[in-house]
Subunit: 427 residues, 2 copies
Amino acid sequence: MSEDFLKVALAAKEAAAELAPLPRAPKDAALRAIADALVARSAEIVAANALDVERAEQGGVQPYMIDRLRLDEGRVVAIAEAVRQVADLPDPVGEVVRGSTLPNGLELRQLRVPLGVIGIIYEGRPNVTVDAAALCLKSGNATLLRGSSSAYESNTVLVRIMQEALAGTEVPAGAVQLVPGQTRESVKELMRARGLVDVLIPRGGASLINSVVEESTVPVIETGVGNCHVYVDAEADLDLAVEILVNAKAQRPSVCNAAETFLVHADVADAFVPRALAALAEAGVTVHGDARIAAHGDGVVPAGEEDYLAEYLSLDIAAAVVDSLEEAVAHIRRYGSGHTDAIVTRSVTASRRFVALVDSAAVAVNASTRFTDGGEFGFGAEIGISTQKLHARGPMGLPELTSTKWVYIGEGHLRTGEGTVIASPAS
Amino acid sequence: MSEDFLKVALAAKEAAAELAPLPRAPKDAALRAIADALVARSAEIVAANALDVERAEQGGVQPYMIDRLRLDEGRVVAIAEAVRQVADLPDPVGEVVRGSTLPNGLELRQLRVPLGVIGIIYEGRPNVTVDAAALCLKSGNATLLRGSSSAYESNTVLVRIMQEALAGTEVPAGAVQLVPGQTRESVKELMRARGLVDVLIPRGGASLINSVVEESTVPVIETGVGNCHVYVDAEADLDLAVEILVNAKAQRPSVCNAAETFLVHADVADAFVPRALAALAEAGVTVHGDARIAAHGDGVVPAGEEDYLAEYLSLDIAAAVVDSLEEAVAHIRRYGSGHTDAIVTRSVTASRRFVALVDSAAVAVNASTRFTDGGEFGFGAEIGISTQKLHARGPMGLPELTSTKWVYIGEGHLRTGEGTVIASPAS
């Protein structure tokens, strides 16, 4: 482990210990100080960002990625506003999750506590630097940020400004740290920093997430790969089904909760598929379908295994006809990513069965997959959408950035083979 | 991956999918069928176990390990009784953890669902084979069991009996699987079975757990390493402190919630240490102390770093004098394993501070560390005590063997840039 990395990791760990017991007020004050500083120093941020953008342009980076990377005064103000919104959210730390007085009189409580140090590996969006740091700070955690090297100048200035803002508050400035260096080695150091980092959250494509899962000895929360399905049941209202399908695919195709495949029950395929193909074509969507889909339209591209596995994130969708709800579920279990899968049906029984059998973070009934989102769920903010089963599943808000601690209070409680004995206090 | 392993792993995965949607009644009936079969076939179990015991005796295995390994009719009856108790526990699956109607009318619920396939790597105690399978089955999970090779004959018969008992029930027989082979390779296969196994729970010593954490690509829940502390505060009732200390260390020294170090505030060291040394000596405990402890008694063995790091699991305890509560906390953070740490104090402020600053799964106030236990906490049963922060922390009961799933039900809910629109159903 390099000295540079060890230095920031130890600083984060020390800051986490100081930050963890702080109540809400000083944390909110610190977040507001960060927001103020970002606005006050926006020119500095935009100037640093211009260096990143220039480098990206010279490197021939795709325009949509440059758009994600670019900051202007307006975007900086929006980032600061998001930090103020995090300050307004309730503090999850200290919440009593469960509790009781045990039969022997011990008072038992399970409290929410911060996780400690959260490492975040993310794409070239400098707003994530501030969003992630703010959410972690609010939930009492220190952050070790490892953004894309394409945003290194921006991230360096953003972290410096946050640290300087914290210096005037009760929150230790070390609570927000940028992993030094832009090399692959620095990602590896983060993944091997067991004992220094409590959890690692990779945000980005499937290949990044897989490599972190493979190599990390730090516990990982996987986020964001979404191969979402819309299943049109034999009992579906076909008007609703067309609208839900088009919304799920085309309203914002680049996000993880957009639909990537639709499945339709054979009983309604003749009625549904031609209408679906027409509506999708009107929305600019290319359909990659099996032979039974292709029979209903000229523009259907033949689909292979890779289409059913694909997270297109574009105006493309895979499609297949299935002979039963169970076959739809089997398709989803085989090809899906466990993010969000929807059924359109009028049947209570079919909806119950689909909800019970589909093993995904979210199951939608007669609704677009696009609602799987921390904001839509009322969390106020999210750090990502977990597609794993351990710890957190689905949109992750502030409570998902916490652990718990058991506390029990007695008055001299001793455990014996025969049960509890209370020791006598001094007279 | 060997064909033998793949076969049982796929069988477990298939069984998990069938088991997950089952309600409580068929699962309880299956557990009772297992209990009946174990009792009816106890002679068969004892005979297989005798082979394991004979091999262990010939191999010169230590007597306490042979005692853990040995089964007789009485122990088999006790194992079956434990299975019946699991059947009597409430079913965590299907519990609505949170839920609300969103402002746009979507009905949102977060439900408990099984994790899927749980791999368990454990020591040479054949009762764990049945306990773990029963807890997992009750919580809707399939199990892949990898017990110690020292218990392979016993485990093979126990799993066969459970599978045969399940064959007459609604629970698929494949829900309980023994990992084939007794080699180290089979542990590795379990650790690399990402996509087939949802979570791995290693039970055993620190070295096993560390190697699993290092090598596993399957998410891991660490259990059971306990370097627990008792801190005797300046404001402690010293009578209580002596009794709590002796109970925490000596009532059952071989378990993970036994105390391994005591720390005492300098202000009360002169009054407390001589009494503590006398009481510990009377309980047969050897004290490994720093110079300020040793000043109070002849029998104190000098303590080094390794003593403060040790999980003795024996009638030994490390000890040190500290100058403040903060120094006690710093010692615990540095050397502890994050299991259970206790403070003895009359001061509300000191107890608040200790609870806030100690970063462990459980914090005890004026009570023995021995109470950190699923049974004592009222869980009815536990699969282990997690010392990690992700997913579950502290004693793990049935709810800790579950994940969650979000379900949202609409009537044609679409997401647009301006907010939710409800599609019109067919007229």
